[in-house]
């Protein structure tokens, strides 16, 4: 007799999406279906928003419902009121019963923690929920006589949730020191922490995965912002897995400046990185722009990233080189501008990569990496990011230019960054009495028989000339 093997229904997902593709990627595809997960963080950290975005992303009008249970912290009415300010909110999901909000507050107040398991069993029997959220789970401790009582209740709760095909999210304002004490952490299959750090006048928000059974998740701190779309997540940049061998391309790319190409014995290797260092006014921005514009002439889309000149100032600089800005954009010129006041490195780098992937960018200029130092809460993290960034460019055969302003008070970036660069070009302003002369020197060029001499650099109406 042939056996009837019942396959998983389409409704039985291997992974539960969070509604955010970047967060799903961090989790290795989403939360595992049929797991018990804790979302933890101080008030205002974004954990409820994460949960709500998740439930709206998974709610299906014709499918099994999602049940959101409030307990003893925020009243249900308040949660639903503020929920409506988010773009992911869909009233139909509530009206049709795809998402059901209920309060456990009265039961918990009247009967303590003993109310939870029977109530949840009743909900499973009557609603058949695909996802269950309990918010705040930590608040339930306030009606528990003791931790051992809580532990006994959790044993029953996890048994019930494990028996039934549902994915659970327990939300709580837990602190790190409670992870080893509170029994819910022992039964959880997944734990995600949301936190924020004060940096000057602004907050930087991070999330990290503390545990996620059966998942190849990305460790470390991942930055995020809260928007009307929910969480905008910026996965931590890590070095790419380099292929065991990738084709070594002998071809050199023109920098756009004939004299510099000659000094570099023909130009830059594809995937090579140039560091342009020099004081303010030496010509770094103009040279970086010319590098990008040269690529456009060759059909290579380019991305210019800068933190100093706003778009209008940049447009003037480009036009002063005799370039039609709109024409350049049509040929594949893209800009990424971030105000130095509001820099968050993670968001910049993720946006940079998105643009590179979406627009098939082949040349990138970052002007100036020294501005990232001021925005970094952790210099080691910044250097690691820059290293990973350059490695990604190498693997993708993207040629890059990074500018670094040198001079008094400009910080110790030169060491770590210069090690990563294939070519270091130093631009200087030499002052003799009332005259000032711009110069250029190739200080380093890996694998290249480069010209070591100091050359004159002139900025003309058609760009930089090196003689």
């Amino acid at each position: 007799m042939s056996i009837v093997e019942v396959p998983n229904e389409p409704d039985t997902l291997t992974r539960i999406t969070t509604g955010n593709a970047q967060l799903d990627a961090i989790l290795g595809g989403g939360f595992p279906a049929n797991s018990i997960n804790i979302l933890m963080g101080e008030p205002g950290s974004g954990k409820t928003i994460l949960a709500e975005h998740l439930i709206f992303a998974n709610a299906r009008i014709a499918g099994r419902p999602i049940v959101y249970l409030t307990t003893l912290s925020e009243p249900l009415e308040k949660i639903v009121r503020y929920l409506q300010s988010f773009d992911f909110f869909d009233e139909d999901r509530l009206a049709t019963g795809a998402i059901i909000y209920e309060s456990l507050g009265a039961d918990l107040e009247a009967n303590g923690i003993a109310a939870l398991v029977p109530r949840l069993e009743e909900i499973i029997k009557t609603r058949s929920p695909r996802i269950v959220v309990i918010d705040s789970f930590k608040a339930i401790h306030d009606v528990s006589p003791s931790l051992p009582d809580m532990r006994r209740m959790l044993y029953q709760l996890s048994g019930l949730l494990t028996a039934y095909e549902t994915t659970a999210f327990l939300i709580g304002e837990y602190s790190d020191d409670q992870v080893s004490v509170f029994p819910e952490f022992a039964v959880a299959d997944g734990m995600v922490e949301l936190a924020r750090k004060k940096l000057g006048t602004r907050d930087e928000r991070y999330l990290r995965v503390l545990k996620l059974r059966g998942s190849n998740y990305q460790e470390g701190l991942h930055a995020f912002r809260i928007t009307t779309d929910g969480l905008d997540v910026f996965p931590r940049l890590t070095s790419p897995v380099l292929p065991l061998s990738y084709p070594f391309n002998e071809a050199r790319l023109s920098t756009g400046i004939a004299g510099l190409d000659k000094m570099l014995d023909g130009g830059l290797w594809a995937g090579g990185a140039i560091l342009l260092e020099g004081e303010s006014g030496a010509g770094k921005t103009t040279l970086a722009l010319q590098f990008i514009l040269e690529g456009l002439q060759r059909g290579e889309p380019g991305l210019y990233v800068n933190f100093q000149e706003n778009p209008i100032q940049l447009a003037r600089t480009i036009q002063s080189l005799g370039i039609d800005l709109e024409d350049a954009k049509r040929k594949g010129l893209h800009f990424l501008y971030a105000s130095p006041v509001e820099l968050q490195i993670d968001s910049i780098l993720v946006t940079l990569f998105r643009t590179i992937e979406e627009q098939k960018v082949k040349r990138v200029a970052v002007d100036a990496i020294g501005d990232l130092v001021g925005a970094a809460t952790d210099l080691t993290r910044l250097y690691n990011y820059l290293y990973a960034l350059v490695q990604h460019f190498v693997v993708r055969r993207i040629a890059s230019v990074m500018t670094l302003e040198t001079g008094p008070g400009r910080g110790p970036m030169i060491g770590p960054v210069s090690v990563q660069s294939d070519v270091i070009v130093r631009l200087q302003l030499e002052r003799h009495g009332n005259t000032t002369r711009r110069t250029l020197q190739v200080v380093k060029a890996r694998g290249t028989n480069h010209d070591l001499d100091v050359k004159d650099l002139r900025i003309t109406s058609s760009g930089i000339e090196v003689t």
């Binding site: 009837v4 093997e5 019942v6 049929n34 069993e121 029997k125 058949s128 494990t162």
Partner: protein
């Protein structure tokens, strides 16, 4: 010989399951669907019960005491008296191949999704002309 119902005409399901939460949920969903439900906590008790009451369906976990679910299945299928009972292996183990070798009629993995389990039981009962399929499970 096929399995037969009792005088009340309800199709009967014997669950072999230790987990109290699962038992409570199975009793509820199958009761609501119109089945007569009974339970055994171990394979040996289940075998004796099945021989005595001839349920229409046995739904068994593999990991039960005294006589595991696969051995139970083999014994039910080897006995002319109980051969007609439909056996569903419903387990935490991904053992469809072993369930097939043991002669099971269907295999599902836990956790419990009531519509899937009810649907499986219904399909198996449809193959048995003597079985009365509850209207609520239609």
């Amino acid at each position: 010989m096929g399995a037969g119902g009792r005088g009340d005409g309800l199709a009967r399901v014997l669950f072999v399951e230790r987990d109290p939460h699962l038992r409570a949920l199975e009793a509820h969903f199958f009761g609501e669907a119109g089945y007569a439900v009974e339970f055994a906590a171990d394979g040996q008790a289940a075998l004796e019960r099945a021989r005595a009451s001839l349920p229409d369906v046995v739904i068994t976990e593999i990991l039960v005491a005294k006589l595991d679910g696969l051995a139970l299945c083999r014994q039910l299928k080897a006995d002319e008296k109980t051969r007609g009972i439909a056996v569903v292996v419903f387990s935490i183990l991904a053992s469809s191949a072993r369930a097939n070798e043991a002669g099971a009629d269907a295999f599902l993995m836990k956790p419990l999704a009531e519509q899937r389990l009810l649907g499986t039981v219904r399909k198996l009962l449809e193959k048995r002309p003597a079985a009365k399929i509850p209207e609520q499970s239609l």
